[in-house]
Amino acid sequence: MGSKIITFVLGGREVEVMVKPMTTLQAVLRYQLGYTAVKEGCRQGGCGSCTVLVEGEPMMSCLLPVEDVAGMHVTTLEAITPADGLDRVQQAFLEHGAFQCGYCTPGMIVVSKALLGHNPRPTRQEIVDAFAGNICRCTGYEPIIAAVEGAARASASKAAQPG
């Protein structure tokens, strides 16, 4: 089967890629476009290290044919990092020691961003549920949960400030 041209919006910028049918979004992001914050722990939907946001929803990019995101907004960790400094979630991961090797971290942060986007004050159980598809082999999940709670608190206190 021949290749196709697919267009989607990556981190706010339109990109056009030429792909064979069934090429995954993960392969396009990592190997055609060089977005290596998208990790590759299993390529079978088992680890969550490849999670990206599609229209704001966390998706495992290894299970997604890139055709399926044609015309959509895709956000990787690269686009979550502000031009200056760190996003509040990134800062919280740093402060809470929410990683050791760092290989699961991009997926964890992307999931956290999506969760806090929908639900700025999640309960502990909601945080735990959000990470149902993400495995960390090093850190243990407590510091990761604490980081999300910390980021939620930081947002709340910022929102409470006048001005």
């Binding site: 990790k39 991961f93 760092g102 971290t105």
Partner: protein, 446 residues
């Protein structure tokens, strides 16, 4: 406070922290290079087989096929990872020769333009194998008539001429004869896969100056470099290994698996070559923690003192020993536990079977001893009619005690650790245990 002590006692940001939270950290296979080739392995589909013929003819016709490597292409095909520290004999085949000794053993490597082409070609390699009887249990492997796994004729690693690592201290048989109780136990553990989220992998890149840069996630950069230099018979200064960023290892990335073949393929093709495990390779063919069987026999007095301990341990090293001989040595040094026992005898066997080779994982050799011995301690407590705390305080080692392998104990903290643990869980200890310390018995350690 001395100005030199500006780190101790403070939280210091990790130097790689920003890289990890921004995803800018480059792990080995995050690199990619123009013209990069992909290497995939033809693996033994059975546990033990004579290899009669490898037919590559169909694989070679796959579009994108570049080359295949077999044992004949590997300059020094038989190696031992720990050879660097004098462990003998050389035993593991980079690519199998006349025999495959475990299911998943590498038999040939296929190099192709794309990963898909490499996998397609791997699937088209025809192996003519004669399946042989296989052995999967450590004690079965030591019985007369068991299938022999090694190329030297028995199934044990030899320690200075002995089939096991031995420790002898005092006289266990004499002590057993006068003990009030004999407590015996057998403890089995299964292999455990380290399962790092980043799979084992590397990319070898030929440089203009005749050197090879190897981006790798090995946990042991110089072990990998030196073994690669031996296997490829090229001086180490032609190899530049870039590592240190490991997406989880836990011991699973200390063996030398991907770098020699990726570098050999880069030498043959003069192009960058990537060799990274799939998740299923990581789970099925990478080294595991060994399976163990540990027999413990203790002679115990009515008051709870253990006066004799005999341990016979078998670690299943799988088809090749990798780091397991070293695990047994550590095990033998610790198989009496953190206890003062005057009579000890330990035999620790590193046994070859047709299972996937086992190797390092977090405290390997020791963890399994602790599991067996601490369950055994609870058993002893029951038999002696004591509680689990008492049996451990009564037998705890102190500074100045001699361990069975003739090491004088220094900086013992078992007693203090147990006291702290008891406080944390709200366990009231009798006054005599609260007053105990690890200080030398001669200096008032009671």
């Amino acid at each position: 406070m001395s100005p030199a002590l500006n780190v101790v006692g403070r939280s210091v940001p990790r130097s790689d922290g920003i890289g990890h939270v921004t995803g800018r950290t480059q792990f080995a296979t995050d690199h990619s290079f123009p013209g990069m080739l992909h290497l995939k392995i033809v693996r033994s589909p059975v546990h033990h087989a004579r290899i009669r013929r490898i037919d590559l003819s169909e694989a070679e016709r796959v579009p994108g096929f570049v080359c295949a490597l077999t044992h004949a292409d590997v300059p020094h095909n038989v190696y031992t990872i720990l050879g660097l520290i004098g462990v003998e004999p050389e035993e593991e085949f980079v690519l199998a020769e006349d025999r495959a000794r475990y299911k998943g053993e590498p038999i040939a490597a296929i190099v192709a333009e794309s990963e898909e082409a490499a996998l397609d070609a791997v699937a088209r390699v025809k192996l003519d194998l004669e399946e042989l009887p296989a052995v999967f249990d450590v004690e079965e492997a030591l019985k007369p008539g068991a299938p022999i796994v090694t190329h030297w004729g028995n199934n044990t690693f030899m320690y200075e001429g002995h089939p096991c690592r031995r420790v002898r201290f005092g006289d266990v048989e004499e002590a057993f004869a006068r003990a009030d109780h004999i407590v015996e136990g057998v403890y089995n553990t299964k292999p455990i896969e380290q399962a790092p989220i980043e799979t084992t992998g590397c990319i070898a890149v030929p440089e203009a100056n005749g050197r090879y840069t190897v981006y790798t996630n090995t946990q042991a950069v110089y072990f990998s470099l030196d073994n690669t230099s031996i296997i490829l018979q090229i001086p180490g200064n032609r190899l530049h290994f870039v590592g240190g960023t490991v997406g989880g290892g836990f011991g699973g990335k200390v063996d030398v698996i991907v770098e020699p073949l990726a570098t050999l393929a880069a030498m043959k093709t003069n192009r960058p070559v990537k060799y990274a495990y799939s998740r299923s390779e990581e789970m099925q063919v990478s080294s595991t923690r060994s399976a163990w069987r540990i027999y413990v026999k203790d002679g115990v007095m009515r008051d709870g003192r253990i006066i004799a301990r005999k341990v016979t341990s078998y670690a299943d090293s799988g088809a090749y020993s990798r780091q397991t001989p070293y695990a047994l040595t550590k095990h033998a040094a610790n198989a009496s536990g953190p206890y003062a026992i005057p009579n000890v005898s330990i035999d620790a066997y590193c046994v070859y079977t047709n299972r996937v080779p086992s190797s390092a994982m977090r405290g390997f050799g020791i963890t399994m001893a602790s599991f067996a011995l601490e369950v055994q301690m609870d058993k002893i407590a029951e038999v002696a009619g004591l509680d689990p705390w008492s049996i451990r305080f009564i037998n705890a080692y102190r500074d100045g005690d001699i361990k069975p392998h003739r090491k004088v104990v220094e900086d013992a903290t078992l007693i203090e650790t147990m006291q702290a643990a008891a406080a944390l869980v709200g366990q009231d200890l009798p006054a005599e245990f609260r007053a105990m310390t690890s200080a030398r018995r001669s200096e008032g350690g009671a």
